[in-house]
């Protein structure tokens, strides 16, 4: 496996989506390739950081206008 081939499949590797054979090839390549190891670590960290981004709270004025809108629109004739 070349650095290029590893680079193309790295997200699938990190997400556990590759066959054991290919995973083994990747592990073997990484044993002797510090740049690929560091690239993999920082790509994994990028995905981890995305997962930890905070959820924003809806500002109270927008929440109020949303609920007014929905209340108006959900009324149905009896």
């Amino acid at each position: 496996m070349t650095c290029r081939e590893l680079f193309e499949r790295l997200s699938e590797y990190l997400d556990g989506e590759l066959s054991p054979d290919i995973c083994q090839e990747i592990s073997r390549h990484m044993e002797g390739c510090a740049p690929c190891v560091n690239f993999a670590r920082t790509l994994q960290k990028t995905a981890d950081l995305c997962r930890r981004l905070p959820t924003q709270t809806l500002p109270p004025d927008l929440a109020a206008s949303l609920h007014t809108l929905l209340t108006t629109n959900r009324r149905e004739p009896k």
């Binding site: 997400d15 995905a47 950081l49 981004l53 905070p54 959820t55 809806l58 206008s65 929905l70």
Partner: protein
């Protein structure tokens, strides 16, 4: 005296489908921050995020009876929100143009002129420290925001919101390989932006470091 709305999501959905307005209110309340965050990340504009939020929940209110329990409620909700985002005309003049391709070739580290392997710093530990100092969220958001929309929505759904590749493909009407390909390109792009940030930090922190 009014009864408390049920707490379990599936019970809330059933009650909403049966016409209980308080259950529907509660369902909206429980999901409004997530949808707002998603919309803000997608368009970076409060007015657009408000429109997307309203369109999404109007869709929920109008179609809750059509929701079938074989799919997850969040997938159904995000399908409505994603459609609202993608059809929204973007207002920001700095927004990347749609249909832009991210080339992996352009993002792949290259050997130097003498064929030596590129130096790739491992900044994963620095990232943890920067996160603790509260410096990284803005960098992450700015990096994601530079992505073309088609890539941005995939990394947000997969890595920020935690949907699987199959769910993301289903809710964006893409193939699973297309989702994986866009996700990989988006991650590599965001990683490169973060690398630039950490390299700049390194230079600032160590005056003897390599010039830019």
């Amino acid at each position: 005296m009014t009864a408390t709305p049920p707490r379990d999501e599936s019970a809330l959905i059933e009650a909403s489908q049966a016409g209980d307005p308080r259950a529907l209110d509660e369902l909206v309340r429980r999901n409004q921050d997530r949808v707002y965050s998603f919309a803000m990340r997608m368009c970076r504009n409060v007015e657009d995020a408000k429109d997307i939020l309203q369109e999404t929940f109007l869709g929920v209110v109008r179609s809750i009876r059509d929701f079938r329990a074989e799919s997850r409620f969040s997938t159904w909700l995000y399908r409505i929100a994603s459609n609202a985002c993608l059809k929204k005309r973007r207002r920001g003049v700095f927004d990347p143009e749609p249909e832009q391709e991210i080339s992996l070739d352009a993002l792949m580290p290259r050997p130097d002129a003498e064929g030596r392997k590129p130096e790739i710093p491992d900044w994963s530990e620095d990232a943890e420290r920067a996160l603790l100092r509260g410096e990284l969220v803005q960098q992450m958001e700015a990096a994601i925001d530079k992505l073309p929309r088609e890539y941005k929505i995939v990394i947000i759904l997969r890595d920020v919101e935690g949907f699987s590749a199959e769910e993301t493909a289903d809710l964006l009407k893409l193939s699973v390989p297309a989702v994986k390909s866009r996700l990989h390109r988006a991650r590599v792009f965001v990683r490169k932006e973060l690398s630039r940030y950490f390299e700049a930090e390194q230079r600032l922190g160590s005056p003897g470091g390599e010039p830019a």
